[in-house]
């Protein structure tokens, strides 16, 4: 993209925007963006209603103002559901349709908390279906994602062109994977720009929990699926980054309740023994380095079973939420 050219467009756009704003002032227009206002109102309501005043009673560390300030200066990048699933589950692993959350559950999610969490769940299901070439189901799940996104007031993403792109790429697995990633990141960008970080945290929580649930359920027999198990143990880093990111918004009651579950899952994975070797950074050629060493996870069946029980319980508490 030519950004110099883009700047000219921006200058023109500024003039147009200026005219539009002057017009709005003159006409005292009251018909602003109702959807945006609805989103703002919902979140303001959420912030007021959900502000947790019982922080001391919950089993979570309370961040100091300094820690909160320090975290707010870091931008946390999180892998998409598509990337998490691809990292853990080998390409030839059999698809299991019973693992995705049935689409008709959508009607039972009435509150913002469960709508947001299950939006994350369905985003991961959409990615899982794409990765396994379940084209028709993927399209249906995309519609579910769109419907639920509208319920939590996320607009501007699910337009006709996006829908057309999916239909035109149904035969191209890689393209669908890219679209799946794009939908996820654009949605989070929209929420971040609108300062709706509590909703962001809930959607990302649902997505990560569902990805770990699907991955864990793929391990039918611990002995035969050790590679997948090893990858699951490595997700403690993901949960660590994610809990750090989410802890900034823990004054929101809904975020806080999910954060407790995420930290519990992280603690289980961290309780597994590991072997540390010194990290070494080697410059082997121009513009290239090798980073050797670090932490090696030692697989432990008891820990894996504990994690599996916990992720099933956590995931089902999200997807089986009725009229909450």
């Amino acid at each position: 993209m030519n950004y110099s050219l883009k700047k000219e467009h921006i200058t023109n756009a500024k003039h147009i925007a200026l005219c539009v704003v002057i017009f709005l002032i003159l006409t005292q227009c009251n018909t602003g963006n109702q959807k945006g206002n609805a989103a703002k109102q919902t979140d303001t309501l959420l912030k007021t209603e959900n502000k947790d005043t019982s922080l001391k009673t919950a089993n979570l560390p309370i961040l100091t103002a300094k820690q909160r300030d320090s975290l707010s200066k870091i931008n946390f990048m999180l892998p998409s559901p598509d990337e998490i699933l691809s990292e853990i589950i080998p390409a030839k692993t059999a698809f299991n349709s019973s693992l995705v959350n049935p689409r008709n559950n959508i009607d039972s999610y009435l509150g913002t908390k469960y709508q947001s969490l299950n939006l994350g769940v369905y985003l991961t299901d959409f990615a899982y279906l794409n990765l396994n070439d379940q084209k028709n189901d993927a399209l249906e799940y995309f519609k579910t994602v769109r419907d639920l996104a509208q319920k939590v007031n996320i607009y501007g993403l699910f337009n006709q062109s996006m829908y057309d792109r999916i239909q035109n790429n149904l035969t191209r697995k890689d393209s669908l994977g890219e679209i799946s990633k794009e939908v996820y990141y654009k949605m989070l960008d929209i929420l971040e720009s609108a300062k709706r970080n509590n909703i962001y945290a809930l959607i990302a929580s649902g997505a990560i929990i569902e990805a770990l649930y699907i991955s864990t359920m793929t391990v039918k027999n611990y002995t035969d699926y050790q590679k997948i198990a090893e990858k699951i143990f490595e997700q403690k880093y993901l949960l660590d980054n994610f809990s750090e990111f989410t802890s900034q918004f823990d004054e929101d009651k809904d975020v806080r309740s999910v954060l407790i579950d995420v930290i519990e899952l992280k603690k289980i994975l961290e309780s597994s023994p590991n072997q540390k070797t010194e990290k070494k950074v080697l410059h082997d050629k121009k513009d290239h380095i090798i980073i050797n060493g670090g932490e090696e996870v030692i697989l432990d069946e008891a820990t894996f079973k504990k994690f599996k029980d916990n992720i099933i319980r956590t995931r089902n508490s999200i997807t089986n939420a009725v009229n909450k």
Partner: protein, 147 residues
């Protein structure tokens, strides 16, 4: 209303969406690599540090390419290992090279710190907000030899 106008114009001038995919960040060495989802575009101020935390899965090759809009140099960046705060790479020691590739054996969280350095009297840092692209490509470490 004036506040709305300010934010609207400010927002328009800061649209950096997709900047990391621009030719400024492109490197031909990325051929055969995949786009990493955690690549990012953002807006930064001159002489102000931008920090982001990225999870890099193990047993992979990565290429990092950081770029900014034309005319804003040098772009200083460091990649720091979160587990021990060791600096994995600092492009100030490498003539502000915008690209680095690395092979990562174990899954690691890194912090990328980036800053556009401007000397006094060059540009007024308060006047500029510039696009920053953090482009990341990855591939599985290719197998060498026999299994």
């Amino acid at each position: 209303m004036m506040l709305s106008l300010f934010f609207l114009l400010n927002g328009l001038s800061q649209s950096c969406t997709g900047f990391y995919k621009s030719s400024n960040c492109y490197r031909h060495e990325s051929k055969g690599f995949n786009q990493y989802g955690q690549a990012k575009s953002t807006t930064i101020e001159l002489n102000k540090l931008y920090k982001c935390q990225i999870l890099l899965y193990g047993k992979k090759d990565y290429i990092f390419s950081l770029c900014t809009e034309d005319g804003f140099k040098p772009l200083h960046f460091r990649i720091v290992d979160k587990s021990n705060n060791d600096v994995i790479y600092d492009n100030a020691d490498d003539n502000y090279n915008p690209t680095i590739g690395f092979s990562m054996e174990k899954t690691t969280t890194v912090t990328v710190e980036a800053e556009i350095l401007v000397e006094k009297g060059d540009k007024d840092p308060n006047k500029y907000r510039v696009c920053l692209g953090i482009q990341i490509w990855w591939r599985k470490i290719p197998k060498i030899g026999f299994d």
